[in-house]
């Protein structure tokens, strides 16, 4: 996760030679059926989960069964789909023309949340708190953390916590983990540290995760999209307080 680098500290008008630990960032070129799909900059952990989660949230695969082969080398991930000739297009096309205006959104192409789960507000508060308290966050600080929470013995527990330089990557990684482990997303929620963007909303909606809760803020487009996909967006989860922006019906008060 970290790399020690040389740096000059500026102190009292002079440079001092020292070393400092910085978060690792690496490119990962993802090829699907031999064709370049995307090059992502990400933290080097959980590459496999990232690839699976990313292809899923981008709509290239409908599940892990659509992948016949996945090989990851240092900076390259190669995926062969069960249909090696499948023509795929990134899901982004759907929202590329929206420009923040609702009139440009093609609702028929948006994913819709299908869930009847009721999650205690306390679970959400504890969820966000627990990822902030996780040893990982304490060590790294500054990187984004995303946790996927599932019910186990009547209690919500984190089944996967991921950290990444990008919050979208971190979200793809936990979704990838969920797919590998056959998680029923319908009853899960996401707790995260970063801002809830429209991209985060779309990823959760594609995966059918009904609730996303963050310690940080959200955006106008994220709320607009979540309104249409049926996702419950919660921001500023601090202590027992939180701001619920959309679809509060998933929260048990």
């Amino acid at each position: 996760m970290f790399e020690k680098v040389e740096c000059l500290k500026f102190r009292e008008g002079a440079f001092v030679e020292t070393t400092h630990e910085v978060v690792k960032e690496e490119p990962l070129a993802l090829y699907v059926n031999g064709k370049h799909f995307v090059t992502a900059m990400l933290s080097p952990e959980m590459k496999r989960e990232f690839v699976i989660g990313h292809l899923f949230t981008e709509g290239v695969i409908r599940g892990i069964r659509d992948i016949e082969s996945l090989r990851t080398e240092e900076n390259i991930a190669q995926v062969i789909l069960t249909n090696p000739l499948k023509v795929f297009a990134a899901r982004k096309i759907i929202v590329s023309g929206c420009g923040g205006e609702s009139s440009f959104l093609d609702e028929s192409k948006l994913p819709k949340i299908r869930s009847s789960v009721k999650i205690d507000a306390d679970d959400m508060s504890l969820g966000v708190k627990s990822i902030l308290d996780s040893p990982m966050h304490k060590i790294t600080g500054g990187v984004h953390l995303v946790g996927l929470f599932d019910k186990s013995n009547c209690k919500y527990v984190p089944i996967c916590i991921s950290e990444d330089i990008g919050r979208h990557n971190a979200l793809d990684k936990v979704i990838g983990y969920g797919l590998i482990n056959n998680t029923d997303f319908e009853r899960t929620f996401i707790a995260c540290t970063g801002r809830i963007s429209s991209e985060m909303v779309l990823k959760c909606s594609v995966a059918n995760i009904p609730v996303v809760a963050s310690r940080s803020a959200t955006t106008s487009l994220a709320i607009e999209l979540a309104e249409k996909t049926g996702l419950c967006v919660i921001g500023f989860v601090r202590g027992e307080k939180m701001n619920v922006y959309t679809h509060e019906s998933f929260i048990k008060v």
């Binding site: 090829y31 059926n33 031999g34 064709k35 016949e68 090989r71 190669q78 062969i80 090696p84 000739l85």
Partner: protein
């Protein structure tokens, strides 16, 4: 095993196939995998940057990984060959031999694990041949006596293709390490075992394992050589696809299996073999082994109970797999095989089974009839076979 498995082998609707020890039938998913290569992503491997080449290279590599995992090995150690014969010859040609080197092999061996060593006599290599008992069971002390500091290679089959008997490979490996020279190597011919018995190369304790894809539901023209230490062996073929770099004066070999696969390989076949391994894994090697044991027991006991029938090899079901050799007094093996085909649509092998030294040792001038079972055979088929043999025997 069940009807769903048989549905993958359409040939069994028309005939009773009891010659899987020669070549197995090919299930539909394997046929489909081979066809889809030609139909959907036909290109060469490791030679292009374009999309199809990337796809096929990955699939071909994956096939190696699957086979490696199947035998408890690492990917770079598994080389695709055209069959067991080629795999064994790669060892005979790829090792450096010195005058006085000794090779220990046995009288049970198929010609493909015998002739390559016989040929090395010209180079001053001595051949020591361990004889099993007449039922195909070895006395381990014979291996102890045969091995010495001069032993360079021990080459033994895990299962006899004539008698179906299982050799004590782990014990022979231990003797090889103890009695053989410091550089002695152990080759296991797994042609008859890999398709039927779960194999872990580490457990076997060998240095090389050779087997055929076409006997384990894969396409013909596919085989495998597992090499524990690829640096131990010199490639036998040189050319495209097997180097890191070439200059006017020198070359550097590729690491891993690529160095042994010069030239365009049997790509569709290799991918088909990977699919065959998927198929066997899905069925489960342990489950298949116990199913075949049941068929083998029925076959063996049934044949023993028929008058005028001689059965060869151990009669202990724990010492053998479902490969059973027999004769009917007064009939030539080929005549028996022909009658089984003509009267009952049963396909069996007859003759010397590429094991002439063994046939000579057992005093079987004309060879034997051999029936061998696999996962797609049924108890009903074995019953039909036994009834047919009985009718033929009665007619003599």
């Amino acid at each position: 095993m069940n009807e769903r498995i048989r549905a993958d082998f359409p040939i069994v609707n028309d005939i009773i196939y009891l010659d899987s020890a020669a070549t197995s039938l090919t299930p539909e998913p394997v046929v489909e995998a081979v066809l889809s290569y030609y139909r959907e992503y036909n290109a060469n491997v490791g030679r292009g940057v374009y999309r199809l080449s990337q796809v096929v290279s990955q699939k071909y590599k994956d096939a190696h990984s699957k086979v490696a995992e199947f035998i408890g090995a690492n990917e770079g150690e598994v080389v695709f060959t055209k069959n067991t014969t080629e795999a064994i010859n790669m060892i005979a040609y790829g090792l450096k031999w010195s005058k006085g080197d000794e090779i220990v092999t046995t009288l049970l061996e198929h010609h493909s694990n015998f002739l390559p060593w016989l040929r090395l006599k010209e180079q001053g290599v001595h051949l020591k041949i361990v004889e099993p008992g007449k039922t195909g069971i070895f006395d381990l002390s014979d291996f102890e006596h045969a091995m010495s500091d001069s032993t360079r290679l021990v080459a033994v089959t895990q299962v006899s293709n004539v008698l179906g008997t299982i050799s004590p490979i782990k014990e022979i490996a231990a003797i090889c390490k103890e009695k053989g020279g410091a550089n002695s190597l152990f080759l296991v011919d797994g042609a008859q075992s890999a398709p039927h018995i779960p194999i872990d190369v580490e457990e076997l304790g060998c240095d090389f394992l050779a087997f055929s894809g076409h006997k384990m539901l894969g396409p013909t023209g596919t085989g495998v050589l597992w090499v524990k230490d690829p640096n131990e062996l010199e490639p036998t073929l040189f050319g495209g696809g097997m180097i890191e770099s070439v200059s006017k004066d020198d070359y550097t070999l590729a690491s891993g299996y690529e160095r042994f696969e010069a030239g365009t390989p049997h790509i569709a076949g290799g991918i088909g073999l990977g699919k065959a391994v998927d198929y066997l894994n899905a069925v489960g090697m342990e489950a298949m082994r116990s199913y075949e044991e049941r068929l083998a027991k029925k076959l063996l006991e049934g044949l023993q109970g028929i008058e005028k029938v001689q059965v060869y090899g151990s009669t202990n079901p724990n010492e053998r797999i479902g490969v059973v050799s027999f004769n009917i007094n007064g009939l030539h093996p080929h005549d028996i095989a022909l009658k089984l085909d003509e009267t009952s649509d049963i396909m069996v092998r007859s003759g010397h089974h590429c094991c002439m030294p063994l046939m000579h040792y057992l005093g079987l001038k004309d060879g034997t009839v051999r029936a061998s079972v696999y996962l797609y055979n049924t108890e009903g088929e074995v019953d039909t076979f036994l009834e047919s043999v009985e009718v033929i025997a009665k007619g003599v």
